[in-house]
Symmetry: C2
Subunit: 180 residues, 2 copies
C-alpha cells in the first residue's frame, strides 16, 4: 500500500440476498416512491466501522424483519459520481445470507412490498434491476451446482497492527493449499 | 440501496499481481524503509473517480516501470481504523494483471527491490506478508487449474442514471446463464 496519507473517497453500500436453500426462495423487496416497481435485495449504507456482513444482516432485518446470517460475498460494483454521494464514489457489495427466521414484517416506511420469491422467477421477471437479475442467475447456478462456484468466502485475520483484525474475501482454496 | 444521503467512509487501495502465464513468474517489490523486508505486490490508493483496474495498472507502472493490463479481481480486504486513514476504513482490492512489457525500471524512492519471482517461490518464502502469501497460493492454483477458479471478472454496464456506467465484478456464469 501507499505510504501517502489517504482520504475517504467511497461510500460503501451492502445488499443481502437471503436465500433459503431448502425451497430455493430468496427475500426481495420493492422500494416505496420509485417510478418503476423493481424487485431487489434489501440493503443500505455501511455505518463507519461496520463490517460488510454486519451491514447486510442489519439492513435485511431493518427492512424485512427477517434475521439472517452472512455466508459469502457474491459481487462488487464500483460507480463514480453516484447521485447522493456528493461527488464521492460508491462501492456496492452484494452478499449471500442464510435465513435464521422466515416471518416477514417489512418496514412500510421504506418498502412497498416484500416477499419470498423463487430464484427461478426472479431470473425471469422484467420487474427487477439488471444487477438483481444477474445475482438471481448466480444464485440459481449456486443452488444447482454448489455455492463454491459463486461464493467469495470470508476469513478474519490479524493485522500487522497489534490487536487489530481485517476481513479478507476471496475464492476458497482447495484444502491442500489452505495452510496459513 | 438506501435513499439516505451518504458520506465517504472508505479509502480504496488496489494492488496488482502481474502474472506472466508463460513462465509462472509474478512481479513483486520490497518497500523501502520497512523494518521487515517483505515481498509484496505493487499498489496504492485510488484517485477520486479512478476505476479499480486503472489504479492497479497505474501503480504497477509507477512503482516498477512494467506496463500491464487488468484481468480480474482476486480478493477484497476490509479494515477499520486503518493507520494513515484518519479514522476512516480501508478497502483493499487485489487484482490479477497480465504483463504487456517485462523490463523492470523500479522507483528507487518507493522500492528497495523489484523482481519477477516464481509464484511457487512466493508461496514458500517467509519474507512476505500473509495476504501476499495467500494470493500467491491462489495464483498457483489458477496457473495449474485455470483462472476461472480464482477470478472475479469485470463487466461495464449502463447505470440507471443516463450516460453513466458502473463496473460489476463477480464469478463468471456459464454461457447458458449469461444473457443480459
Amino acid at each position: 500500500e501507499s505510504r501517502l496519507p489517504g482520504f475517504a473517497t467511497h461510500q460503501v453500500g451492502v445488499a443481502g440476498a437471503v436465500l433459503d436453500e431448502t425451497n430455493g426462495k430468496v427475500l426481495v423487496v420493492q422500494d416505496k416512491n420509485k417510478t418503476k416497481n423493481a424487485w431487489k435485495f434489501p440493503g443500505g449504507l455501511s455505518d463507519l466501522g461496520e463490517n460488510i456482513g454486519a451491514t447486510a444482516a442489519r439492513e435485511v432485518y431493518e427492512e424485512t424483519g427477517v434475521r439472517a446470517e452472512f455466508r459469502s460475498l457474491l459481487s462488487i460494483r464500483q460507480q463514480h459520481n453516484h447521485p447522493g454521494a456528493f461527488g464521492m464514489s460508491d462501492m456496492y457489495l452484494i452478499c449471500r445470507l442464510s435465513p435464521l427466521t422466515h416471518s416477514i414484517n417489512f418496514c412500510r416506511h421504506e418498502c412497498l412490498r416484500c416477499e419470498w420469491m423463487e430464484v427461478a422467477e426472479l431470473c425471469r421477471t422484467a420487474e427487477t434491476t439488471p444487477i438483481t437479475s444477474r445475482m438471481a442467475r448466480l444464485l440459481l447456478y449456486g443452488l444447482h451446482h454448489g455455492f463454491q462456484h459463486i461464493d467469495l468466502t470470508m476469513e478474519e485475520l490479524p493485522a500487522v497492527y497489534s490487536g487489530m483484525f481485517y476481513q479478507l474475501f476471496h475464492r476458497q482454496l482447495p484444502e491442500s493449499l489452505r495452510c496459513s
